[in-house]
């Protein structure tokens, strides 16, 4: 009886002070690239999470998800490699959050396949025999964009903005696998996602509507079919420029490597100047939060961001 009374009392109190709701805590899975070629993404995720009170506890001893390679060689391996990480997170009792769209896709695909079919779960656990690890399917997998915008919330994000990015025009570029194929419990549309668009607006910048939000950059075939990749990425950069963007904003490190890393190669191949900075959405958030560019890894871009920083009043 008294418990009910307490609960009833607690509800309106919580509603009155939403900012005091319990801190979100996740097992953080950076993925292989974020420890090396995409350190800047990792740095900015950690900085932004810290500013927002989002608790990220790095999943101890996490291993590679297998990415496109595993499912191109063996289907069971493409489930077992993510499963090892799901099992580690289960032992911690924490849902996984990752910034890498490919890891996100591989982890949720394994999680959902095992959840939908007990025979698959059994087979994957058999593949982990002798490792001391076992999956039950008790933890979920989320992408950091979803957790920040829908978990932490747009209101809390807007409150942290001390340097509104007024006058800055960017194109939101989602890449493919963050929304494609669509998960049953998806957080955004696979054809016209809007999560990052809304976020960019909340930071004070202008999110340009363009037709290539989820058009492939060719990242996954960068090493095996470079010519095709350069063509795909060049199309995107040209469209971003034509749309009047000062930068491309994205949530994927492979797209970043294609659009930023390979931009010089594209300029050389097509004999044209592009000069389009490519930023992670978390770097844009950090700038609006007043965090120093270097702490967001903004000195690691191959295409200089100096002009862009200057336009929002930051001298570098």
């Amino acid at each position: 009886m008294s418990e009910i009374a307490v609960a009833e009392k607690a509800v309106p109190q919580e509603a009155a002070k939403p900012e005091e709701k319990k801190a979100l805590r996740f097992a953080y899975y950076p993925g292989c690239s974020l420890t090396t070629s995409a350190k800047d993404y990792n740095m900015s995720v950690i900085e932004v999470a810290k500013a927002l009170g989002l608790e990220l506890e790095e999943l101890e001893d996490w291993s590679c998800c297998g990415a496109t390679a595993a499912y191109s060689v063996n289907y069971l391996l493409s489930l077992a490699l993510p499963a090892r990480n799901l099992a580690l997170a289960e032992a911690k009792g924490l849902d996984i959050v990752t910034p890498c769209p490919e890891c996100y896709y591989r982890l949720w695909a394994a999680h959902d396949s095992m959840g939908e079919d007990p025979k698959v779960l059994e087979k994957v656990n058999k593949a982990m025999d002798g490792t001391g690890l076992k999956c039950a399917g008790s933890v979920d997998v989320k992408h950091i964009l979803d957790v920040l915008v829908n978990g932490v919330g747009m209101e809390a994000i807007a409150k942290k903005v001390v340097r509104p990015l007024k006058g800055l025009k960017v194109v939101p570029y989602y890449g493919c696998v963050i929304v494609k194929p669509p998960r049953k419990s998806r957080f955004d549309s696979p054809e016209n996602p809007m999560t990052m668009d809304r976020l960019i607006s909340a930071l004070g910048a202008e999110s340009i509507q363009w037709d290539s939000k989820t058009r492939c950059c060719g990242g996954p075939i960068m090493l095996t079919n470079e010519k095709a990749m350069l063509n795909l990425s060049r199309d995107l950069l040209a469209k971003a420029k034509a749309a009047g963007a000062q930068a491309v904003v994205l949530p994927c490190q492979l797209c970043q490597l294609a659009l930023d890393g390979k931009q010089t190669a594209i300029e050389e191949a097509f004999k044209e100047k592009i000069d389009m900075p490519v930023l992670y959405f978390t770097q844009l958030m950090g700038l609006a939060f007043g965090i120093e560019p270097k702490r967001l890894g903004l000195d690691k871009n191959l295409v200089s961001v100096n002009k862009l920083l200057k336009s929002i009043g930051i001298s570098s």
Partner: protein, 201 residues
């Protein structure tokens, strides 16, 4: 592209078990394809394929194993999943491509783009050994272990050198592989799967 013109398909040359092999390898719902062509219409790299995705789905249904597994299409696919997303029949086309790649590698069928299998092998060797991917090795292997000559490989690496240097100067290249604590668990998982699936790895 092979869409134009008619060709005679000899059923005696087809393998009636092939479609089920593809489904077992992860190519979910390939039997449901009704040839609408939405996949080919949305594919950003269809123009580079010898057989576009729609044709590949039909070839799988008909059991045209040899032609499909030797197709360059498999190694052009960027796994963007636009096809899977839009398929009105729920065919997971990108996964069918994955299943076909895995069968082509398993059967040792020479692919038209030798870099694909080399890239995947290097990636998974790294994962199996260290538990994580070692990016510089991917680049070395793709250039030096493709079917081109050593001279070609070295030229390829030299072409990539400025890109690598620019990344390295910004601290974006790891010099040594990062290993997980329980590497033996990776070895065990690989061994188990080899036993369960009779792989020739």
């Amino acid at each position: 592209m092979a869409e134009a013109g008619l060709q005679v398909i000899k059923l005696k040359d087809c393998d009636p078990h092939f479609m089920n092999e593809v489904i077992a390898a992860g190519g979910k719902n390939v039997q449901l394809c009704y040839q609408c062509g939405t996949c080919t219409g949305g594919c950003p790299v269809a123009h580079l394929m010898d057989y576009p995705p729609r044709t590949v789905m039909r070839m799988v249904q008909l059991g045209m194993k040899e032609q499909v597994l030797k197709s360059a299409t498999l190694w052009v696919c960027a796994s963007c999943n636009t096809c899977t997303t839009r398929c009105p029949r729920g065919v997971e086309i990108a996964k069918v491509m994955g299943a076909l790649k895995s069968l082509a590698i398993k059967e040792g069928v020479a692919a038209k783009n030798p870099l694909g299998p080399v890239f995947y092998k290097s990636f998974l060797d790294s994962t199996g050994t260290f538990g994580r991917v070692f990016e510089p090795k991917l680049m070395l292997d793709v250039h030096l272990k493709g079917d081109g000559s050593i001279a070609q490989g070295i030229r390829g690496l030299l072409r990539e050198a400025p890109f690598g240097m620019r990344l390295a100067m910004r601290g974006r290249v790891a010099l040594l592989p990062e290993a997980i604590g329980h590497k033996e668990q990776m070895k065990k998982i690989y061994e188990n799967i080899c036993k369960m699936e009779c792989l020739h790895e």
